[in-house]
């Protein structure tokens, strides 16, 4: 090898190395703009299904020998961490990203996936993303059911009706008897996003539809992995909330009296999302 070539190659390598260090080690921006650090954990559920929990909504990772199917993708700043976590368990590329609904803690990394990755969600979830000027709106949507077949495996994406929003899909892994519920099951008490078309009245019926599927394990939108019986408990809590608040409205209880009940009995902190996004909408819906 000539000396000139060696010098040139070394220079190129050095430049690439510096660029890589600059890229990966970039200090977070100062002040308000400081980039958030991803903080997630990868859990193995079966040989070919993993869950990434931590920031934002729970992510499911289904591995096939023709690529990976991912359910939800957390916040924008979680993208690199999600990809690194997937790489730690498979060399397969992410072929599909299935969004359970439009919220940014479930769709935040959409825009960073390459064009070759197909992102799929419900028609209403896409519409909500467009209305909210969110980045990374999916190109493919469905209204009732869409199935993805990859590497001999099947994933079923279903819309059962309104609940958390008007566009929540559940993602069912029939071979594993596992379902990812999105935020139709998340936390202890429902967050009804009325601005996103949510409905307390219809929520229980939506869960009833999902419970007709044959599954044992549940990956909720947020929180630890649960069982089918936990979904029934959640469903009954949703119905209890609806019945109790409907009763109070019929008895002409004041807004403050009802607010106190949801705070004390259902854990809706006045500053929390459940109260801020759901309370007045719930009163309006249940009055009808």
């Amino acid at each position: 090898m000539s000396r000139t070539l060696v010098v040139r190659l070394s220079a190129t390598l050095l430049a690439l190395g510096c660029a890589w260090i600059a890229y990966t080690q970039a200090p977070p921006q100062q002040g308000k703009q400081q980039a958030k650090q991803a903080n997630n954990k990868l859990n193995k559920i079966t040989d070919d299904l993993y869950e990434i929990e931590g920031d934002g909504g729970n992510v499911a990772v289904y591995i096939t020998n023709e690529g990976v199917i991912v359910v939800d993708d957390k916040f924008e700043y979680d993208f690199n961490d999600i990809m690194a976590k997937i790489k730690s368990v498979t060399a397969q590329p992410v072929k599909y990203v299935l969004n359970t609904h439009h919220h940014g803690d479930h769709t935040g990394s959409n825009a960073q996936f390459p064009a070759a990755t197909e992102i799929i969600s419900t028609a209403n979830a896409r519409k909500n993303m467009i209305d909210g000027k969110q980045p990374g709106a999916p190109r493919v949507v469905f209204t009732d059911e869409t199935d993805v077949f990859l590497g001999g495996k099947q994933v079923q994406m279903r819309y059962f009706g309104r609940g958390h929003t008007n566009g929540d899909a559940m993602v069912y892994f029939p071979a594993l008897k596992i379902i990812h519920t999105g935020d139709l099951m998340a936390g202890a008490s429902p967050l009804i996003d009325y601005s996103g078309g949510g409905s307390l009245k219809e929520w229980a019926a939506t869960l009833d539809g999902a419970m007709k599927l044959d599954f044992d394990k549940v990956i909720p939108g947020h929180g630890p992995i649960a069982k089918k019986a936990d979904m029934l408990t959640y469903r009954n809590n949703v119905e209890k909330l609806r019945t109790e608040i409907t009763g109070m409205i019929r008895q002409n209880k004041s807004r403050d009296e009802i607010a106190k009940v949801v705070q004390d009995k259902y854990g809706w902190a006045p500053t929390g999302l459940q109260f801020q996004r759901g309370f007045d909408g719930m009163l309006a819906e249940l009055k009808r």
């Binding site: 197909e118 709106a137 999916p138 493919v140 949507v141 469905f142 869409t146 993805v148 077949f149």
Partner: protein, 287 residues
């Protein structure tokens, strides 16, 4: 440039050239195995929408600035011709292939497009392809409706019920008021594929749903680009066939009597795909 390098580069160029000639000029295999030649024409239906008509089912080409959405892909031997025809109107790659149903004259080039495009069909169409061991089975299916958004344009794929098979989708281009009907409106029918879940009984009701869409132009599964009225007339024949068969059977008329009436009516009624399937049509309507 050094002389050695020049010689080596030339050798590589010649080798590549020879390989290319061998690849593109290979004579068709002899005898029965002779490859069929594609024979299609592309015609403009709207500024950004074209129909490829000739072999097999009609293909529709919707051009966007983020890629092409293709409806149906004819036979296996038409794949390259479809690509060439698309290339003659746009440099955009084919990103989506939407199959109206399972048959090989509409899905024959799927295998070719699978690695680079998303192919979508109705769930029953895929089930039938798997059952029939057809090549080019798609990865993505839907049951009721799926929409594709590409380059600021929208395509709606809808399932309304049984007709030609149990998995026929229509493809609707809302901005253009154009509908690709697949074989639930095609000049070689109404042709019920009973083995793949088709139904003469349900056909007209399925078209009634389709006709609720707002469209002016129909690209049928087979035959020339037509107006909405084509599908209205088609619906009326699809409704008339079961009504006529049922009432004639009640009057004790034979299959031959019915066939005579159909032949006299002419047009779609007299299509061999209808007359030759009278046994099966009568069997379905008995239930």
């Amino acid at each position: 440039m050094s002389r050695t390098l020049l010689v080596r580069l030339s050798a590589v160029a010649i080798a590549l050239g020879c390989a290319w000639i061998a690849y593109t000029q290979a004579p068709p295999p002899q005898g029965k195995q002779q490859a069929k030649q594609a024979n299609n024409t592309i015609s403009k239906v709207a500024d950004d929408l074209y129909a490829i008509i000739g072999d097999g089912g009609n293909s529709t080409v919707y051009v966007t600035n983020e890629g092409v959405i293709l409806v149906d892909d004819k036979f296996e031997y038409d794949g390259q011709d479809i690509v060439d025809k698309v290339k003659s109107v746009t440099n955009q790659p084919i990103k989506y292939v939407l199959n109206t149903h399972l048959h090989g004259d509409h899905t024959g080039s799927n295998e070719r497009f699978l690695p680079t495009a998303e192919i979508i069909a109705h769930k029953n169409a895929r089930d039938n392809m798997v059952k029939n061991k057809a090549p080019g089975v798609m990865r993505v299916v839907f049951t009721d409706e799926t929409d594709i958004f590409l380059g600021g344009k929208e395509v709606r794929m809808k399932y309304y019920g049984r007709s030609h098979t149990n998995g026929d989708a229509v493809i609707y281009f809302p901005a253009l008021k154009i509908l690709a009907s697949g074989d639930m409106g095609a000049n070689n029918g109404p042709n019920v594929d009973f083995a793949n879940g088709g139904s003469m009984k349900d056909w007209a009701a399925t078209l009634d749903q389709v006709l609720k869409l707002d469209f002016d132009t129909v690209i049928p599964g087979h035959g020339p680009v037509s107006k909405r009225q084509y599908l209205v007339d088609y619906r009326n024949v699809a409704a008339g066939i079961p009504t006529t068969v049922t009432s004639m059977v009640r009057q004790g008329k034979s299959k031959d009597d019915i066939a005579k009436v159909f032949t006299t009516n002419g047009g779609l009624w007299a299509n061999p795909n209808v007359v030759n399937k009278l046994d099966q049509i009568m069997a379905e309507l008995k239930n």
